[in-house]
Amino acid sequence: MKKEKPKLTRSQLKKLKIKRRTQIWGVVVTLVLLLSLIAPYCLPHDPLATNAQAMRQAPSPEHPFGTDNLGRDVLSRLLAGARTSIFATIMLVIISFMIGTFIGVICGYYGGKLDDLVMRFTDILLSVPQLVLAIAVAGMLGGSLVNTMIAIGVTSWTSYARLARSHAMRIRQLPFINACRLTGSSDANIIMHHVVPNLIGPMLVNATMEIGSTMLSIAGLSFLGLGVAPPTPEWGSMVSESRSYLQLAPWAVFAPALAILITVMLFNYFGESVCDLANSKEA
């Protein structure tokens, strides 16, 4: 008798579909990251070179996205700024993820007074409008990329800390943790080898979903003139610089703004499919 091919159930098919979609978005996001790393080395023009003869030129084959107020090539600036804009975002997500997870795990695992204190502190940070606090901090520290990251980081670690805390509190009560204690494992050992590995999955899913909104916050601050100092190309500050001559050279405003939009959308699609994948595995 001929052996029949095992048929996939509808839910299995759906899982495969979600998996494939996540892989595709993963490849796209990796390509964007690679592109932003390579781009500064293969620019059509010097992103800092001003040219009085080519001020505010409309898009043409020579300058696909036109030129800005100082005659600088918008495409070159866009490509040169990609690394700053994207990597500042990724770095900020990674740093606040690490700090937040560390604090959250410690609070959730030990509980007690320290936990109370830290959670009250996050309550207060969460009751202040994030961008307003970030503007105040960045305004005080002065404009630079690192200061922008600090200003947003002041509040962004709290959401990771809360999530990590709730996971750590749940894991702490599982029987195998008690078993570890009985065998004489130290707290540090239990946290590193049993608590963290069990919560890192959902934490990473959350972090990928935060990339888009973090990028928007950084862009917002640099648009307000609190980010990198000109003439260094960065997407948010490019929009800010060229805003005053929107009427004369809209391309210089909309090219970097659209670059932000597209990148944020890519990261959001990626984050959403990673989240779907994690949920489908759980189900």
Binding site: V128, L131, V132, A136, L216, G220, V239, L246, V264
Partner: protein
Amino acid sequence: MLKYALKRIIKLIPVLLAITLLVFTLMYLTPGDPALAKLTSQGGTVTPELLAEERHAMGLDRPFFVRYVDWVLNILKGDLGTSYSDDQPVASKLMKALSRTLALAAASTLFSVVIAIPIGVYTAIRKDSLFDNIVRILTFTGNAMPNFLIALLLMFLFCIKIKAFPVVATTNLKGMFLPTLALSIPMISKFARQTRADVMSQLSEEYVIGMHARGIKERTILFKNVLHNALGSIITIVSLQVRVLIGGSVVTEMIFRWPGIGNMMMTSITARDYPVVQGAVLILSTLQVLVNLVTDLSYYIIDKRISLE
């Protein structure tokens, strides 16, 4: 209800105190001397004697805690200090600006709710229809848009291309239109998505099937039960958006030159006029805390089972 409200209000006091401490510490840690900033912002040459005199007059030579307590006591009296740039009382300057910001915030929230909830409900009951798919793409894009892109696009289209509005927003209804629209677009995206998800999850509940089986009209189920049950999480997302709205209004006000509190905060940061920045952060944070309070109280009104803890 009254008891619950009272308890919630009492719980606010430590939070508000902590916010004042946070804001004050932030300004305290700011590099640069406020006396020097004040003197330079008023122009003229600054001599060391003049600086020392100004420092004493401003009370900067006192210890941190004394200055903090003094500052908080003044706030309770409604005194937020005087602006460095024009020696005007900060409180009255900010209050005028606050009312304009509130007008914008209220108008855009109302507009977004009115537009987004029907869209959310309709896309939930007509899942995967053409309209649903279009809305899904639009709301996804709206979510990823930097708020300055929305504002600049609107300005480009309506002020420069069509010339329907002046570039600098006037403080009347016509001038309010574009800033309100700019603030509404991201909110509509969020609310519509959330409403759709909530209504869909309610529709799959067993009570809906039960009501269908008993022959109750679709419309009655939808408006009397489903929407009522979804209201809680819709209120949550609206109140969460207020945080984003307050931040976003800074950018929008700056682009349309709307004379609100966000705009004032930005000009004061550039001018290093710290009392105004301090006051603006404090007022906006208090606003946020009050919104959280109203949200909690409205949960209680919708669902009487909720009590303290």
